[in-house]
């Protein structure tokens, strides 16, 4: 999978706290919103990609 970048997107819960809700990833020529879901193939590939030197899932803004 041709992953070029990945960044967490935060969500605000009802109690006002923020947590990572999904990942914005550029894969090939498309930008995907990827759920933080162990069975999602994009999510699995992003975790593998992040293990390689120089790759990192950027923190949410």
């Amino acid at each position: 999978m041709d992953i070029k970048s990945a960044q967490y997107i935060s969500v605000t819960l009802y109690d006002g706290t923020k947590q990572n809700g999904s990942i914005k990833a550029v894969i090939g020529e498309q930008t995907w919103s990827v759920p933080i879901e162990p069975d999602n193939a994009h999510y699995q590939a992003i975790l593998e990609w992040a293990k390689e030197d120089g790759n990192e899932i950027q923190a949410a803004e």
Partner: protein
Amino acid sequence: MAVSRINEAGLNVNQYGNRNLTINGAMQVSQRGTVTGITGSGFGGPDRCAIVCSNSGTYTLSQAADAPSGSGFDKSFDVACTSSDTYGTAADVTHLRLSSLESQDCMKFEHGTSSAKKLTVQFYVKCSYADTFGLALVNHDSQRSNVQKFTISSADTWQLVTLTYNGDTAAGFNNDANLGLSLDLFLGGGSDYTGGSATLNNWDTRSNNQSTYVSSTSTKFGTATSHTFNVTGLQLEIGDTATDFEHRSFGDELQRCLRYFYSCGDGSSHVYQAFAYGSATASTGVETLLEFPVTMRTIPSVTQVGNVHIGNGVVGHTFTGIALSTNQSGTKRATITLSGASGMTQFRAYRVEANNDATARLQFSAEL
């Protein structure tokens, strides 16, 4: 009088349904359409068909109106090289993933037991040059594979390939919804994939079989931009005999494909086609609920294609961010959040729609 039992002996096995374990084997459904510029792995053309390539050229995947005459097929998976490469490093590789099965759908093979069943694959194939290729069945749970070779004897000529694979008595599947078995057709590879002498039709660890996936005399697909490859009529079935291809209706195949990929938006001439309704959470964004037509394999990823905006029938608002929130989404429906807009009224209803663009879509992927 009610029939209490059908005499199986009076039936031809070709009349039995659900023999074909692949989805979209006749290449009828193509929700993504043509996908160009693939340099890594990616889906394109007929649903469920993908290419995996690493430093081995650039490819276009499409659904072609090209099939062997008299076969009952009229579409095929078309792979075309648009930028060539030389497979200069050992790990470079190109293979087609013609089909992938969930692990839970592989339990019927009884692999990992002394009753492990044989599997038979058949498909029509055409290539722009004559060559020998490897087709590997890969068990992703045990990381084992079984490879066999087939030869295309004449360039640009359709031919039928039939291969029967032994059952694997040593390792089975995990019985879950993740990737269990894939059918990987190897088109070219660096030295990691050639020169091996592993026994054909033998289950072994992938690392032991890998160097046999590509013939040492292979032309290597993608070393010239004239290279094309087509496949149709793909069938995987239990047993040692290839039975007649099990044709299914377009509607049946589409329903099966939707578990893995859903293109919301049909590419019709309705250039303001609505995809989902919701309400503004602030002046800058909306939250919408979208139902999937079938339960997807897992919570999907989402992307937009073409020009999509937020509208209310009077005014359109552009947005910069689209996200599917894991907390509020599942395999039956998803909450899509659109952000980075301006000028909306909080709590007012809005719809997500195409913005004067017949190609606009929201796409959801739960592929294996």
